[in-house]
Structures are given as C-alpha cells and as structure tokens.
Symmetry: C2
Subunit: 439 residues, 2 copies
C-alpha cells in the first residue's frame, strides 16, 4: 500500500468529535482524501508514499474555514478607516465599488485574497460579492475551496446595473458553477433584510432551495438596522426573516449581533447557522455578538474575517485570538470561548455553518485532505504546553509552512505554488495606485 | 561626509510632532544616532555610507516601545488559559514561579523574549519581574533597549525569600545597573497597592525618586482589587496611591482599567503615565480601560503586551490592532482610537510613558537610531493606501525585515544577529518540557 502523501513528525490536532490530539502523529493521503490519521511509534518505518512531508515537531491540523468574506475587497484594504459607517460606505466603499469593479479587477483582487488566505492557513472560504463568476474563476486557479455567493441587492450593483435582473443573474451563476469543480459550491448572498425586498429574498431563497444550496444574508449587524426593521416591519430582523420563511438549516446569518433571546431561540429552532466576524464588528463599531448565548442554545457558529476593507486582513489566526478574547472581557468571564471552542469555530463548526462538514473541517479518514502544517520553531511558539492554546493565542498566519487542499499541495515551505505572487502583487498594487489617485 | 548606515527607498513614518510621512524617504545614521531624515529626489545620488540598506518600497519607522512586560514569563506561555484569575494565579503561575524560576531560567526566558520582541519590531521594553539582574544580563546580550524594574512584593518571592529584603534588593539592582549600559535604565516595580504595604510603596518610590527613575505599579486592574482597596483604604486604588504620594510624572500606572472620572483627573493632574495592555486585559477578563477618557484628559498612554502567560505573545503589532478595535466596539464609535493615535501609543507616547522620549519614539535628527523596516511585498499588505493604517490594522510582527537599535543592526533580512536562536529555542523548549512533566 503506497500513499500519495504522508505527513509525519508533528502533533496532529484532529478536531474530530473526541477532539483527539495525537502526539507524534501521522497523516496519510491518497488522491484527494485522508486515509489514515494515527500515532506513529518511533521505531516503526514510515509507510511508502510518493511524497513524505516532515512536520519537524510542528502542528498538523485541518485547514481553516473562513465563513464570511468579500474577497475582491482586498483592493480596498485600508482605503478608509476610523470613519462613521455611513461615511465609510457612502463616500468610499460604494463609490469605489461602482467605479473600479470590473470582471478583471474582481478576478485580480480575488487572486490576491486567495494568496493571502492560503498562505495564512485558510483552505475554505465562503464568499458573497458581485461579479462572482470572476471570483469563482480566480478560486479555481488558486486551488482553495469555496462556497461562493453571487450578491443580490435591490439597487444597481457592479455587474447588475438593473436590479430587476439580480435574481436571474444569481440563478445563472448557480447554474453555471454547479458542476464545474468539486472545490467550488455556488450559493446566493442577499445583502440584507433592508436592502432586499421580501419578494427578492423569497426568490433568492427558493433558487437556493431548489438545488439544496446555502443561502447567505447579513442580518442584525447594527443597531440602525434593528431600528429600521422595527419601523418598517414592526419586529426584529431575525423574526422578520423567519416570518417570511428565510430561516432553515441551509441559511447562514452573517454577524447576528443585535439578537434578543427570542431571536436566538428562533435561530436554534430553525437550525440556521451564524457567521461570527469579531474583528470587523469591532472595527466598524457594530457591536459584540452574543456568541456564548448562541452556543448555549445549540446554534452552530463559524468564524469569518469579513472583507478586507473592514478588518483589514483575511488572517483567521488573528480572528481566533480576537474571538477568544473579546467575549471574555465583554462578559468579564475568562472561562468563556476557551481555545478548543474557538478552534472548532474556525474548523469543524465553520464547515457545518456552510454545509461542508461531511467533507472538511476535521482530520478524519474518508474526509477531504485539507491539511495545514504549523512551524513551531519560532520564538513566539516556545515552549509549547498545549498546541490548541498556541493555535488560538500565539500562532500567526505566517507560521503556516505547508498547505494542502483536496490532496493538492498549494504551499510548500511557505512557497505558494498555484499563483504567481510577484505578478499578482505588482498588478493589484498598480490597481490600488490608480484608485488612490482618483478616489 | 560619510554615514555609518543609510536606509533608503521606503516611506518614512517619522511620528515626529507634525506626524510627517515622507514618501521615498531616507534615514542617515552615524554611530548610535539619527543624523538626517528627509525625502530623496529620485535622481540624487545616495550619500556615502559604510552600509546602504534598501527598504525596497517598504515602511521605515521608529522601533516599537512595549511599556509593560514580564519577560521571563515566556517560559509559562500557554501553560494555563481560559481559567478564573484566582485559579490561574494560585494553581499555575505562582507555584510555577516558585518552583522553576532561578537566575538561569530567568536569563534564558528573557533571551527568548528578546528574540521574539526584536523579530517583531520592538526595540524598547519596560519590564518588571524578579531576578531582574538576570533579565538585564539577557537584554544586554540581545541589544534591545529596556527600562527594567526589580519586582517588589510583601511576600516571599523568587530570589527574595525574605520580603523584608525586598527594597534593599531593588535598591541594589538599581545601583548595580545605573551606569552599565546606555541601553539599560533601572527601575523599581511594585506589584500592586494590595500586595505592597504603604511603607513598602513609599520606600520604593523614594528609592526611585532619589535617582530620578521610573516607578512602576499595577493598579486598578480588576474589580476585585477596587473592592479590596475600598474595604481596606476606603477609597479607590488611584486615590489611595495619590494620598500616599505615589503619583507624579515618574510613575507608570499599569492597566488603569477601573477608573472613575476623579481618578482620571488625578492621574492627569499628577502627570502620571498609564500603560494600556488590551490583549491581557481581555484574556484575563479584567475589563476595558477608559483609554479615550484618559487621552481626552491629556494623560500619556503607552501600549504594552503584559507577560506571555496572559496574552500569549509579545507582538506589539497585534496589540495595536486590538487597541484600535476594542475601544471602537466598546464605545460603539468607529472614530475613536484611530490608527495614528494607536501608532503614537506604540512609539512616541510609549517612550514618554517610560521617560525616554528625549531619546527614542520617533525618527528625528539627534535621537537614538532605533529603526525598523517593514517588508510590504506581502499579499496582506497590498495595495497600500495609507501606511499608518497598514501598520495598525494589517502588518504582522513577521513582516519586520530589519531592526536597528542605537545604530546597531540586530536583525538583517529576518535574521537575528545577536542571539543564537536555535540554541535558545532548544533550551527553553526543554525547560518547558520539564515544567509540564512536573506541573
């Protein structure tokens, strides 16, 4: 029996249901799948394999799952910070989207995002944006896995100048990408309950349901949104979405910050999922989501970075660190959001949130081989008492040494193999220079 | 005129009083000092220099100032997380300090800390711990700059088994290190107003005052502390410290979380300084310091990481990102703690907080040459609209390419030149293995 890849000499964090941690573990891969994950006695020979990867005492773990991104917004990273939300959106983000987004800039911005994500250990992302066809093309080249939602909004939008075509565009995207690649799952992303009409929401949800796909929506993100829905719909965003039939197990609620206890109960009952984006929520001063309450109610919560214009990076290691800390201080309880809970949010629970947990999110035989290796021979990672603590509180994206998605090596010893990084940095840097000149 | 070092081809963030940012800037160094900081026209030849450093379009900025650390606690990094404070301290940290701290382990843990700090762009730290003589020895080897406080507490402590010797030990440390190196400034660190008697505090402060040195103390860190001081002293920690004469411009209040408006006014009036440690305060669930209020009152606030047992790293870039974000969400105001304010906290205001602003904290002719260069040719740093935004919200410690302290190159192209990193990781890793076996 010969494997394609055998990874050895590291501590394996499986994130399986028993949360097994295997000291001196070994991971064997054939084609796109994990075949064996087990401890290796020091004196046993390694199995035969086309490629043997020595983790050199580091950490072998599932690739991270980013449950909420707007990938092409890497192009607007740091364009406008520290501003009131209305100014940020109205004077910078919306005008720049209208002016500078084309299929080509979206493709390039997404390539940049993929490079950043892969190099920092993310192997799956869940995106929502415009020109999603071009987002998908870039993902396809990069080798990362994704659930990709064509954006739907009842206003003229990049690539959809006439909003009456928004559902048709989204359905066409879904149709086109449904069977192109096992790594790409199409989806529809409705912007919010206040920017999409009831009719739009229902049509989008129906289009997803007809193919069993994920329906994504920003909801309960700001106090203003809650007040507006209260005025217009006489209820909370979550109760409104529930009333019109938007909430079931295939719905991903993004942010979910301003939730009352009834909202939480409804989300739990409908088995809808939540994407928690603490760094974006903090930077935009949106609020702190009641994640402990959601978890207590049994809701699946995944972690996300949001777009680069409101974070300003796509590094899930930083996001884990922040997620663990912000709830502790908010509740004045150092025991909430322990490292294990947070790591699950960034792996298996993220996979559940976007409907991919049968395939990814943990290292288990039969699942897809989405694996990353952390180099722990760094001053900020020594000594190592508890690898899970290190992952959440000390590891940085730049400590990720190797990245494998579906058995394909995307990063080897920090070198990205699927994207011409130098070229991508040059051209996206030039796009940025053009934007700042005219912004 | 020939310089020792000329750095060119980067954007220079001076952090001078005008906050000048120089596109295509140049920094010239002779011996330990900055001589010229200016723009360079593309067609002018570079000045002569022994060493020319090409920043390759990156960021040239002052080295960061960490205003609060317990350096040897790198040895306990991640040993115990997600626990109530009393359990964390009483069952893990205090017993481990008692069992495993020796002059030699303190020296090695500090070397590890220096490696981490220098490689992540910190050029000055302000420490407080036990066996501070051995902390100082390690700093001396590493080449980093430091204000080092021998710890004082009215209990048996590592290296000071009889607390009646605590002031004598501290005074002896100050005496010994006062003129050893221009990079090392001795200080005294009193643990807190509830673990040091009034007499101890007064003696420690007097010992500092007699030599014009910094007096450091943790204060107003937790609700429990406030309650305890209220019971014992019938006032707040700050008012108690003020009453007994502890507060003046040479006093650094560490944490300063539970402050009422009178406390803030007193700190401002006495011109005392505050060290803000948001990540530690979040992880230990201590609370969120009223930093906006302190800044409005005119108080100088520096940034600190605290020790590695409560963070779990010494990376000031992560700390800046968190500092900028946590106050925004806490006050639901995205305009507070803008990137410029936070960068100042990690540089010039940190330097002010520890009494070194005449020498460091900004790139200005005549100041010490403490300079770092950021490599911005990374996917998470492209495009670059505003370098200050990048520094706070996107740069990681691992993006620091070169580090210079007092004109001495400590890191060249990510290689640490002053510490045998392999050896340090090996031996501190082994110390950790010994601790976990017996803990």
């Amino acid at each position: 029996m010969s494997y394609d890849i055998v990874i050895h000499n590291g501590v394996v964090i499986t994130v399986n249901s028993d949360f097994d941690i295997i000291e001196n573990g070994m991971v064997c891969i054939t084609q796109e799948k994990l075949e064996r994950i087990e401890a290796r006695a020091d004196d046993t020979p390694l199995p035969e394999a086309e490629q043997i990867i020595d983790a050199k005492g580091g950490i072998i773990m599932p690739g991270l799952v980013n449950t909420h991104t707007h990938l092409p917004m890497t192009l607007f990273r740091g364009l406008a910070d520290d501003l009131p939300l209305a100014v940020w959106l109205g004077e910078f983000i919306f005008p720049c989207e209208a002016k500078y987004l084309t299929p080509e800039t979206v493709r390039l911005g997404t390539l940049l995002a993929c490079a950043e994500m892969i190099l920092s250990g993310t192997t799956t992302c869940c995106d929502g944006y415009f020109f999603e066809n071009d987002v998908a093309s870039a993902l396809y080249i990069s080798g990362i896995r994704g659930v990709l939602g064509q954006g739907v909004i009842d206003f003229p939008a990049p690539g959809v100048p006439d909003p009456s075509n928004n559902i048709r565009t989204a359905a066409g995207f879904v149709e086109k990408w449904q069977d192109v690649s096992p790594l790409i799952t199409p989806s529809i992303f409705c912007h919010s309950p206040y920017t999409c009409s009831e009719e739009t929401l229902k049509k989008a949800k129906a289009a997803c349901d007809s193919k069993g796909l994920l329906f994504q929506i920003h909801a309960a993100e700001t106090k203003n949104e809650v007040n507006r829905i209260q005025t217009e719909q006489h209820t909370t965003p979550i109760k409104y979405l529930d009333k019109i039939g938007m909430l079931d197990q295939n719905t991903l609620i993004v942010h979910g910050i301003w939730l009352d206890s009834d909202d939480i109960e409804i989300i739990a009952k409908r088995r809808s999922k939540v994407s928690h984006n603490p760094q974006s929520n903090m930077k935009l001063a949106s609020g702190i989501a009641p994640v402990s309450g959601l978890l207590r109610a049994g809701v699946t919560v995944g972690l996300g970075t949001d777009g680069c214009a409101s974070n300003n990076d796509l590094d899930l290691f930083r996001e884990m660190d922040t997620a663990a800390k912000v709830h502790k201080v908010n509740l004045l309880d150092p025991t909430v959001m322990d490292a294990r809970t947070v790591l699950k949010m960034a792996t298996i629970d993220g996979a559940k949130a976007i409907g991919l947990d049968k395939d990814i999110g943990s290292l288990e035989a039969g699942k897809q081989a989405d694996v990353i290796i952390i180099d722990t021979e760094k001053p900020h990672l020594v000594p190592m008492y508890h690898p899970v603590s290190h992952i959440v509180y000390a590891v940085q994206g730049s400590d990720v040494r190797d990245v494998i998605v579906a058995g394909r090596i995307l990063v080897s010893d920090r070198k990205l193999l699927t994207i011409d990084l130098e070229d991508t940095l040059k051209i996206t840097g030039a796009i940025g220079k053009n934007i700042i000149k005219r912004a």
